[in-house]
Subunit: 223 residues, 2 copies
DNA sequence: CCGTCTCATTTTATCGATAATTTAAACGTC
DNA sequence: GACGTTTAAATTATCGATAAAATGAGACGG
């Protein structure tokens, strides 16, 4: 397997936020396994920044919940027990269901248009196998959708839990079939936004979360 | 009014977390009004720590959500618009209701005992007018109660939103009458934990939030 | 061979100093 | 007197160096 030291990013200028984002991506694409140690010096070498920024990036990752830090011991990529996964998804479902219920239906045309555009881009990335794009448009699609509920704090919390479940969702990125199913779900959501039934929409949003959760739990139980 | 510069804490040794806690207290007791500027040098002088810790304390406060930072401009105590207050409380109610619904009833004796002890301490602080103690035992009471739901992530989010609503709850600390009402609510909650009806308990937990929210919204609308 | 006690190495935590940025005031011009 | 420009003060951001802590390897006694 590729180790952290093999990766170099010479050209780009990094600040702590862009480092955090890069590492976040490494995690979702499985380049950084849960439990991996994250030393300051490694980041320092990889991103060519001062200790200050490497450090800040790590505290960033900590507040984003995708890394855990122990005093005087440094950071490791967070690894989730099945119990934690269940807890996180229970809260995720709670938050996303409520957000869906709060969206005023039928949704305005601009929102439909915006989501449709994202949906099409998402589809293109799925077919071309460009995983980074899939991930980005997927998250943006959901965030845009849920923002329609009108409660920015709720959306922020949803975003937090999307990040917490990053390692869980990583698995599902590998199979094109599951990506297509996910894409189809999105289409249905847009359809529902044109209607008037919040409950169906909410149920759809909750169901949408199940596949990757189940796949992950099945995966860890057999290992 | 007392300004930040008037406060000195010479004796005590501070780290960034204890500074954050001290400032958190200042906010809930109204010593630090929303919108107040928080410069590093001020903290430096007040707590006699190096710039490093003052700085870390501020980023702590930022992630706790009780301070906002603008790049190259520093931090100010977060001030909430009525809209934001409404949003925060909507999510708070959602989270706390669900936590209450998830608590297995009837609750085990140890939990009842623990909560009863906290409840009595809370009562003593209310009567003696020791506000710091009231605040601490109050928060501990709710956290202990909600922890019984078995979902630590949900509890963490509840904690976050308790902090976000700090400025709102500050108002309610001033009147002993409202503290007594709150205390009575707690007693009822303990009673409900002995029973089997999650829905009544949940409703109680939601109702418990209303007074301070309403008082705050009424307060800002007349100013 | 096992434990445990140095000691060197690795890694994180802290510090003081300097650089960069913003803010506000002083100044001059029209 | 209003407006734009320059300068000085205040404040935050960044840096490199040093201190402190944890880790692991090897030495030593049992």
């Amino acid at each position: 397997m590729q180790t952290l030291d093999d990766i170099r990013e010479d050209e780009i200028e990094h600040d702590d936020l862009s480092i955090a984002r890069a590492l976040e991506e490494d995690i979702i694409f499985g380049r950084l396994a849960p439990g991996t140690r994250l030393t300051e010096d490694t980041l320092l070498a990889r991103f060519h920044v001062t200790r200050h920024f490497a450090r800040q990036a790590i505290v960033q990752l900590e507040t984003m919940g995708i890394v855990v830090r122990e005093r005087n011991k440094g950071a490791t990529v967070r690894s989730l027990t099945p119990r934690q996964v269940q807890e996180i998804y229970d809260v995720r479902e709670l938050l996303q269901r409520q957000a869906a219920l709060w969206i005023p239906l039928p949704a305005p045309d601009e929102l439909i248009a915006e989501l449709t555009a994202l949906h099409e881009e998402h589809g293109r990335h799925v077919e071309s196998g460009y995983l980074r794009g899939v991930h980005e448009t997927n998250d943006k699609f959901h965030l845009t959708l849920f923002s329609a509920c009108g409660n920015s704090h709720l959306v922020q919390s949803i975003e937090l839990y999307m990040r917490l479940s990053l390692p869980v969702r990583a698995n599902s990125m590998s199979s094109k079939e599951s990506l297509r199913i996910s894409h189809e779900h999105h289409r249905l959501m847009i359809e529902m936004l044109k209607g008037r039934d919040n409950w169906v929409l909410a149920q759809l949003c909750v169901d949408h979360l199940q596949p990757s959760k189940k796949r992950y739990l099945a995966y860890v139980s057999e290992n």
